[in-house]
Symmetry: C2
Subunit: 225 residues, 2 copies
C-alpha cells in the first residue's frame, strides 16, 4: 500500500516538474542564457574538468556556475577560486537530485542577467538526476575511464537523456580495461545522436575540442539556430 | 505544495521501511544468515571485488549473492560464472535503491536455507541506498581510489551508515591523488568505529585481511556474540 502511494506521488511530481522545466527553459531562451546540466557518478572528475573547460571559454562567453551538493561546499570554492567566474552552491538538503524549481531558485540567486552560459553541476549520481528535467537546454554526461565502459548498460536512462558524453581521465587508460569504442557502441544503442569527447583535464588532451563544441552550441542557441 | 506532499509520504515510507527492516533482521538472525549490504558509486569495482572475496570464503561459508540493478543482468552472470555460488538478480524497475521489502522478496527467491552469508550488491549510488535500511546485519562501503578521498565530505550519510570501508583499486594509487590517511580521517569524523580495508582485487593485496574480517564477523554473528 505504501509503495502504491509513493508511485502516485512521484508521478504527479514528475508531471509537475516537467511543466516547470518547460517554463524555465522558455524563460532562459528568451533571456539568451544557455543552461548546461552536467551529470555523472561521484568521483568522475566533474569539478576538475569544469575548471579546465571554463578557463578555455571564459574570454569568449559570460559564464556562471551552480554547484549542487548534498552538504559540503568544497566544489563551489574550488570552481570560483580557480576560474573567477560567478559561482553559487546549491544544497539539496539530502535529496539525490535537483528538480526544475530548485534549479530556478538557484538561477535567481546566481543572477543570470547577461550570462551566456550557466553550468549546473548536478549531484553525483547516475540514477535520480536523470529522472528530473532541470529546465536545461541540454544535458552532458561525464563517464570516467576508471568506471568502466559497461555503465550505459547499467544506467540506461542517464545515457538516453544526455546529448554529449565526455570520457574523462583518458590519461589513465593504460591502467584500466576501458574501450572507447565499446563505450561509444553501448551509448549509441540507447542514443543514436550522441556526441563523444574523450578528454584528460590533467594533460589537456581533447579539451580544445570539447570547448569548441560547447562554444558553438551556445552560439547556435543564441542565434536561434 | 507538491514538495511538502513528497516529504510527508517519504517519511511514512521511511518509518514503514524501518519496521520491515527490523523484522527481516530478526528473522535472519533466527535463521543464522548474515546479510551484508554492499554499497558504492557506480564503477567502484564492486562486482570484481565480490568475486575475489567470495572465492576466498566459499570453502568456509555457504554464500549466496543478490545483485541489485536497475535493468541489466551483467553482474549476476559474472558473479555466478566466476564463483559458482547461488546468485540472483534483483531488478528495481528504475528505482535508485532497495528497501527491506524488496530485499525480503529477493531472499525468498534466492532461498536462504542453510546459507551463512548473503551478500547484497546494492544499486551503484552514494545517496539513496544510504537512506533505506535493507534489514542487513551490517553495511559495507567500497570507495575506489579514482573517486577521490573527499567523497565522505560530500555524501556523509553513506559514510555514517556503514561499519566497514574498503578502499578498492589501490594498485592505481600512483596515478591518482588519493591519500588513505586523509580518507580515513574524513570517515572517522563521521563514524568513529569505522574499520578500513585497502585492497586491490587485481593484485590480491589486502584481500586476505578483508576475507578474514568478514569470516570472523559472520562467525561471531552465528555464535550470538
Amino acid at each position: 500500500m505504501h509503495n502504491i502511494k509513493v508511485i502516485e506521488v512521484r508521478q504527479s511530481v514528475f508531471a509537475h516538474n516537467e511543466k516547470k522545466a518547460d517554463e524555465l527553459r522558455l524563460k532562459l531562451k528568451e533571456q539568451g542564457t544557455y543552461l548546461l546540466n552536467v551529470m555523472s557518478s561521484p568521483g568522475s572528475g566533474k569539478t576538475t574538468l569544469l575548471v579546465a573547460l571554463i578557463n578555455l571559454l571564459k574570454e569568449k562567453l559570460r559564464i556562471g556556475v551552480m554547484e549542487a551538493d548534498i552538504d559540503a561546499r568544497v566544489d563551489a570554492d574550488k570552481v570560483h577560486g580557480l576560474t573567477g567566474v560567478k559561482t553559487i552552491e546549491l544544497h539539496t538538503g539530502g535529496a539525490c537530485h535537483l528538480d526544475a524549481k530548485m534549479c530556478e531558485e538557484g538561477l535567481d540567486a546566481l543572477g543570470v542577467d547577461g550570462l551566456d552560459l550557466v553550468i549546473l553541476e548536478n549531484v553525483g549520481n547516475l540514477v535520480c538526476p536523470a529522472e528530473f528535467d532541470t529546465g536545461s537546454a541540454s544535458n552532458l554526461n561525464i563517464l570516467s575511464i576508471p568506471e568502466g565502459d559497461d555503465k550505459p548498460l547499467k544506467y540506461p536512462l542517464m545515457f538516453q537523456v544526455c546529448s554529449a558524453f565526455v570520457f574523462s581521465k583518458i590519461d589513465t587508460m593504460p591502467v584500466f580495461d576501458f574501450s572507447i569504442e565499446r563505450a561509444k557502441a553501448n551509448i549509441l544503442k540507447l542514443n543514436g545522436k550522441a556526441r563523444f569527447f574523450p578528454v584528460s583535464a590533467k594533460t589537456g588532451e581533447g579539451m580544445d575540442e570539447l570547448a569548441a563544441y560547447i562554444y558553438e552550441t551556445v552560439r547556435a542557441f543564441k542565434e536561434g539556430r
